[in-house]
Amino acid sequence: METTVSKSSTEVYDSATHLPQLLLELKEAWRYRDLVLFLVRRDITARYKRSVLGIAWTMLNPLGMMIILSIVFSEVFRVAIEGYPAYVLSALIAWTFFSQTSSNAINALVWGGDLLQRIYIPRSTFALSSIGTGLVNLVLSLVPLIAVTLAIGIPLHATLLLSPLAMLMLAMFSLGVGLLISTIGIYFADVVEMYQIVLTAWFYITPIIYPLDILPERVQAAVQFNPMVHLINLFRDLVFYGKIPPLETWLLCFAVSLGTLLLGWLVFTGKSDEFAYRT
């Protein structure tokens, strides 16, 4: 039996001399990047392992939702948008990414807390891995989106190639929101449930299933304060309308998502020592 003595640079942990929390957590999260990767892989493989269709469910889910919404809105409410199924689907997958990743970040932290009580891992690991899982799912759901777009006779646009930029901003925004809510969740487990209701309301004040211009002008102005409006529109412009939004839109989206991420990271890392104190 071999015993390897890890002589390689003895790591020293000193509770007193530490970098500012926000930098330390960044450094540690990078050191544990393999863990984030394995958590993503676990979430994706484990979820579908015993189902017959497996990973195809990631694509079938939004498709089913799209069919229902298309029937309800184009047949029952008579919303007149050309190519409505693709219109809905393009925003729906972006929204699903946001709602799932932000609430998964909280769930993993609040209910996976047992692990954090026993071993050291960077506190942001769960939030980061839920973003990773979400991104994989988002990319996979581009497949049904492209299929639907072609099926209803709309040509594909080259702007689709720019959509990773929009996804990146969505990811930054979602991570920021997930971290903010998680921090509150340390103190009050109720927030997890509350957030689900907030998400439902948020869904309806974002033009996902309806076009923005059906709202009264007064409301339209108010809705501008909802960051998801801009992020969803950016994504939809690229993958559905095939137009490149003006520079202001890009800058606005980038500023909002970076700002949210920084705020979330700052608040979360500032409070992350409290986790162990709350049992």
Binding site: T4, T10, V12, D14, S15, Y32, D34, A189, Y277
Partner: protein, 266 residues
């Protein structure tokens, strides 16, 4: 698993001290949990009370000005009644929490044998779980790949490693967890209670593994309620009571004091 017997414990501490800095060092460490006197489970309840200024906190000192030094190669025992602060102390060393006051220094990698099989997922194969569990313990992917063969052989799971974990018996899972946790020698090994892993043969094997670590110079922190185990395995020990260190000395002497105290108080 019976841990390594420590027969030839010279009055070790003093000689070891000469070899340099302590591996684990606590300097005047205090951990204060701030617990609301009543429990507010909901936000609404808390908000109302808070506004009324009626939230009262109670300070719970889990550790109160604790200073300790553990040196390289020592098997150091922690004894004390329930709630004495032993687990909190281990958490500090394992980096799970930061002290409210004072300073904790750990020189080297810590392997807490408190989280064997952490994050195991029943639907993943044994091999996939090794990667996940290893990453949770702070190994890089590269390190795990290197150790994979050793882990599989040590856990005696060569034939089953690519089967989903849900098909494993609890003994098989425990073996796999132990193998991952001890794949690489840590500088500090944390053991809470004498652990029993798998059947008798494997218990001996795992005890041998820990003995190997000790002989190679690893430091072991052991928490146990079994005074026999502490006397048998530890060179030195500390007795904690209500967050304070009551004694630090040779294991025999500390256990004696502790037992005397317990008899008197009961």
């Amino acid at each position: 698993m019976s841990l390594p017997t420590a027969p030839e414990i010279q009055t070790a501490a003093a000689t070891l001290t000469a070899n340099g800095l302590p591996v684990v060092e606590l300097q005047d460490v205090t951990v204060r949990y701030r617990v609301p006197r009543e429990r507010y489970r909901t936000f609404k309840e808390f908000a109302i009370r808070r506004v009324q200024g009626r939230v009262q906190f109670e300070d719970l000192l889990a550790l109160d000005g604790v200073s300790l030094q553990v040196f390289k190669g020592e098997v150091f025992g922690l004894v004390g009644a329930n709630g004495a602060g032993k687990t909190t102390l281990l958490r500090l060393v394992a980096r799970v929490m930061r002290p409210t006051k004072g300073r904790v220094i750990v020189r080297g990698r810590v392997a807490p044998l408190l989280a064997m099989g952490a994050g195991f997922h029943p639907e993943l194969t044994g091999r996939e779980n090794v990667f996940l569990n290893g990453a949770l313990l702070g190994y890089t992917r590269h390190q795990i790949e290197e150790k994979m063969d050793w882990i599989v052989d040590f856990a005696e799971l060569r034939a089953f490693i690519d089967a989903p974990l849900r098909t494993y018996s609890s003994g098989m899972m425990a073996r796999l967890g132990f193998a991952v946790a001890t794949a690489q020698m840590p500088e500090v090994l944390i053991i809470d209670e004498v652990l029993s892993v798998g059947d008798i043969a494997f218990q001996e094997k795992s005890a041998a593994r820990i003995r190997e670590f000790r002989e190679a110079g690893a430091t072991i922190l052991l928490v146990s309620h079994s005074m026999g185990a502490v006397k048998k395995m530890c060179s030195r020990a500390a007795w904690l009571d209500h967050g304070r260190v009551m004694a630090v000395d040779q294991a025999e002497a500390v256990v004696e004091k502790f037992e005397k105290y317990m008899e008197v108080s009961s």
